[in-house]
C-alpha cells in the first residue's frame, strides 16, 4: 500500500478521532468527575505539575457515582423512556405522512419531480428556530389554527395545543419529514413499473399490488427514513422546549436543564453518555441496512 492510499484512508479516521472520539473521551471524563464550585464546575482536573503521583490521584478521584445517581432518581429513566416513546411514535407518524408524499412524488410526471423535490427541501433554507417559532404562532391559544377552527365552527372554545405532547409530535413530524420522504422516494423512483404491471397481470388489484410489491420493495428506504428520523428525534431538545409543556419529558430537555440550570456538568455528561449508548444500537442497525442495500444493488 503506497503512502497516498494510506493518507486517503487516514483522513476519515483522523476525522472520527478528532470530532467523535476526543470529545467523547472528554465528556466521559466529566461524567466520571464530581460537581464542584469552580471553573470549570467539576473536579478533579488534571495537573501535569505533580507528575506521576498527580496522575494516580486524578484517576483515584474518578468514579461512577453520577451513573449510579441516574438510576436512583426516577426522573432520568422516565425521561429516557418518554423520549423513546415520543421518538417512536413521531417516527411512525412521519412514516404515515411521508410515505404517501414519496409515493405521490415518484408517480408524478417526470418534469414535475425536481420541482416537488425542491418543495420538500425548501423549508431547510430558513432557520429551524424560526420555523419552530412559527409553529408556536400557529398552535397558540389565539393562534392561526384555533382561529380557523373557531371560524369554521368545529369548536366553541380554543383548544390547548401549544405546550402539549401533541405540539411536540407536530414539530417533530414537520421538521424531520424530508428525512423520511427522500430515502423512500429514492427507492420508489427506482421501482420498475413493469413489476406492478406483472402483479396486476397475475391477479392483483391496485391495493394488493401496493402491499405485495411496492411496500416490500421500498423497505430499505422505509428503514433508512425511520432511522434518520428516530435517531435525532430521540435526543431532540429545541422542539420539546419550545412546543412542549412542563409535562413533556424528553432527555434532551433534561440534559439542557442539568447543564445550564443546575450547572451540574458531571450528571449532564453522564446523561449524554447513556443517551449515546442507547443511540448506538439503532445507528449500528442503520449502518447494517445501508450496507445490505449496497450489497443488493451491487
Amino acid at each position: 500500500m503506497n503512502l497516498q492510499r494510506r493518507f486517503l484512508i487516514a483522513v476519515p479516521y483522523a476525522w472520527l478521532l478528532l470530532l467523535f472520539f476526543v470529545p467523547f473521551v472528554i465528556v466521559l471524563k466529566i461524567a466520571l468527575s464530581n460537581i464542584a464550585l469552580a471553573i470549570p464546575p467539576y473536579e478533579p482536573t488534571l495537573s501535569w505539575s505533580e507528575g506521576w503521583s498527580g496522575l494516580v490521584a486524578f484517576f483515584r478521584q474518578l468514579d461512577f457515582d453520577n451513573f449510579v445517581f441516574l438510576t436512583q432518581d426516577s426522573l432520568y429513566w422516565k425521561a429516557y423512556l418518554s423520549s423513546l416513546q415520543i421518538a417512536f411514535f413521531s417516527t411512525l407518524l412521519t412514516l404515515l405522512v411521508g410515505f404517501p408524499v414519496a409515493l405521490g412524488m415518484a408517480n408524478a410526471p417526470e418534469r414535475w419531480r425536481p420541482m416537488l423535490m425542491l418543495m420538500i427541501i425548501l423549508p431547510f433554507w430558513t432557520s429551524f428556530l424560526i420555523r419552530i417559532y412559527s409553529w408556536m404562532g400557529i398552535l397558540n391559544q389565539e393562534g392561526l389554527l384555533n382561529q380557523l377552527l373557531l371560524w369554521v365552527g368545529v369548536i366553541d372554545d380554543p383548544l390547548k395545543m401549544i405546550n402539549t405532547n401533541f405540539a411536540v409530535y407536530i414539530g417533530i413530524v414537520y421538521t424531520y419529514l424530508p428525512f423520511m420522504v427522500l430515502p423512500i422516494y429514492a427507492t420508489l423512483e427506482k421501482l420498475n413499473p413493469a413489476l406492478l404491471e406483472a402483479a396486476q397481470d397475475l391477479g392483483c388489484n391496485r391495493t394488493q399490488s401496493f402491499w405485495l410489491v411496492t411496500v416490500p420493495l421500498s423497505k430499505p428506504g422505509v428503514i433508512a427514513g425511520c432511522f434518520l428520523v428516530f435517531i435525532p428525534a430521540l435526543g431532540e431538545f429545541v422542539i420539546p422546549s419550545l412546543l412542549g409543556g412542563s409535562q413533556t419529558l424528553m432527555i434532551g430537555k433534561v440534559l439542557w436543564e442539568e447543564f445550564f440550570s443546575n450547572r451540574d456538568w458531571p450528571v449532564a455528561s453522564a446523561v449524554a453518555i447513556v443517551l449515546l449508548l442507547i443511540l448506538i444500537i439503532p445507528i449500528i442497525l442503520f449502518q447494517r441496512n445501508e450496507q445490505k442495500q449496497r450489497e443488493a444493488e451491487a
Binding site: 420498475n192 413493469a194 413489476l195 404491471e197 406483472a198 402483479a199 396486476q200 397481470d201 397475475l202 391477479g203 392483483c204 388489484n205 394488493q208 405485495l212 410489491v213 416490500p216 420493495l217 423497505k219 443488493a296
Partner: protein, 379 residues
C-alpha cells in the same frame, strides 16, 4: 430457417370459416396523442395457435400485446376474447397472462414464490398451489432452483421462471413479449424449441412478439408481419416465405432479390416482366392479371442456379460477373453483378468438401431460375 413445428397435422382453424376465434380484433386503432401506434387492425387468433407478431422495432407489437393484457385500451374498435368484448375487464380479471420483455420477476421473492404469486390470488387451496408450483418448476426444469432469488440465477433461468409464472394460472392466452431477446444466440435457439414443446404440452394459445424473423419461422403456426401499426400479411410461415404479398414482407423475411420493372400477363397466365434495357424479359407468376403495371419480381437466392454455360431449360437466365463470394460453411452465396450494375444473390449448397471453389471473382457466370421460382409483387 424453414424448420416447421411438429404440430403441423394440418391444423389450420383460420382456413375453417365456421371456427370461432379465441381473439378477434375489430377495427382496432391505438393513438398516443397525435401518434398512431396501431391502425384499423382486424385479426383473429384461434385456440391452440402459436401466433407470432413480427415487425421492426416501433411498429406497434408491444402496444398490441398490452391491449390484449389490458394495460392499454384501444382508442377505437374492440377486442373480443371468446366472443366477449374485454374493453371493460381490468388486467387482473383477464384470463390472459403475459411474459414481460424484461421478465419483471419480483426481486424480493424466490423462484417458487414468484411462480406461486398468481396462484395465491385465486381461491386455490394451499396444497394445490404447492403442487402446481412443483409441476411448473418441473416443466421448465428448475426444480433445484426453487429457493433461489431471481438475481441468483442466470438470464436463461430467469426467462424460464417468467414463463412458468405466466403459465401457472393456466391462462386461455399467453402473451410473450420478445421472450428470448435477452438470451445469446445458441441458448435462444434451444429455448425456441422448448417453447414449442411447452406450448404443445400445455395446449395454451401463445402470442409471441419478436423482431427476429428466424424465431417467428421456427416457433409459429402463423405469422403476422407488421409495419407502422398495420398488418401487412398474416399467414403460415411457409406461405409468408414462399408467397409474400408485398416487397416489404419478402424483404423482411429472409434474403431476397428484388427486380423491378413492368409486367404484363401473357395468354398462358404467366407474367412477363420488362425490367432493364438490353436485358431479356423475366417470367414469373402472379395471382392477379397485370397490364403493363409496375411490379417487382422477388426471387430467393437459394432458388437461383448458377452455371458457367447458358442453361437450356430454365425460363429465366441472366449473365453477370461474380462480384463477391460469401462462404458460410454449409452454403456459399455468390453476389453476381449484372451488366446494369444490379447485384443478384445466388446461393449454392456446399454438399461436398471442396478445396477449390467452382467460380471465382470476376468470372462470367449464368444465373437461372424457373417460371414458378419467383413471385411477382405489385406492392
Amino acid at each position: 430457417m424453414e424448420t416447421q413445428t411438429a404440430s403441423g397435422d394440418t391444423l389450420a382453424p383460420w382456413e375453417d370459416a365456421t371456427a370461432k376465434p379465441l381473439i378477434s380484433f375489430r377495427d382496432v386503432s391505438k393513438r398516443f396523442g397525435g401518434f398512431t401506434a396501431v391502425e384499423a387492425l382486424n385479426l383473429s387468433i384461434y385456440k391452440g395457435e402459436f401466433f407470432a407478431l413480427l415487425g421492426p422495432s416501433g411498429c406497434g407489437k408491444t402496444t398490441l400485446m398490452r391491449m390484449l393484457a389490458g394495460f392499454e385500451a384501444p382508442t377505437t374498435g374492440s377486442i373480443l376474447l371468446d366472443g366477449v368484448d374485454i374493453a371493460k375487464v381490468p388486467p387482473h380479471k383477464r384470463a390472459v397472462n403475459m411474459m414481460f420483455q424484461s421478465y419483471a420477476l419480483f426481486p424480493h421473492l424466490t423462484v417458487a414464490e414468484n411462480i406461486a404469486f398468481g396462484l395465491k390470488r385465486t381461491a386455490m387451496a394451499k396444497a394445490d398451489i404447492t403442487a402446481r408450483v412443483e409441476e411448473m418448476l418441473k416443466l421448465v426444469q428448475l426444480e433445484n432452483f426453487a429457493a433461489r432469488k431471481p438475481h441468483q440465477i442466470s438470464g436463461g433461468q430467469q426467462q424460464r421462471v417468467a414463463l412458468a409464472r405466466a403459465l401457472a394460472r393456466a391462462p386461455k392466452l399467453l402473451l410473450l413479449d420478445e421472450p428470448l431477446a435477452a438470451l445469446d444466440k445458441k441458448l435462444r435457439q434451444e429455448t425456441q424449441f422448448e417453447l414449442v414443446d411447452i406450448q404443445e404440452k400445455t395446449g395454451t394459445t401463445f402470442v409471441i412478439v419478436t423482431h427476429d424473423q428466424e424465431e417467428a419461422m421456427t416457433v409459429a403456426t402463423r405469422i403476422a408481419v407488421m409495419d407502422h401499426g398495420r398488418l401487412v400479411q398474416v399467414d403460415s410461415p411457409d406461405r409468408i416465405y414462399e408467397n409474400p404479398n408485398s416487397v416489404y414482407v419478402a424483404d423482411f423475411i429472409g434474403d431476397v432479390n428484388i427486380l423491378r420493372g413492368r409486367g404484363r400477363t401473357r395468354t398462358d397466365g404467366k407474367v412477363e416482366i420488362v425490367w432493364a434495357d438490353g436485358q431479356p424479359g423475366l417470367v414469373g407468376t402472379s395471382d392477379e392479371p397485370l397490364d403493363n403495371a409496375e411490379c417487382a419480381l422477388a426471387i430467393r437466392p437459394e432458388k437461383i442456379a448458377i452455371s458457367s454455360t447458358r442453361p437450356v431449360q430454365d425460363a429465366n437466365a441472366l449473365q453477370g460477373a461474380v462480384h463477391d463470394i460469401a462462404y458460410l460453411g454449409n452454403t456459399s452465396t455468390y453476389h453476381v453483378r449484372l451488366p446494369n450494375g444490379q447485384i443478384l444473390k445466388a446461393q449454392e449448397t456446399n454438399s461436398r468438401r471442396i478445396s477449390k471453389r467452382k467460380y471465382t471473382w470476376e468470372e462470367e457466370v449464368w444465373l437461372s431460375w424457373s417460371e414458378t421460382a419467383g413471385v411477382v409483387l405489385t406492392r
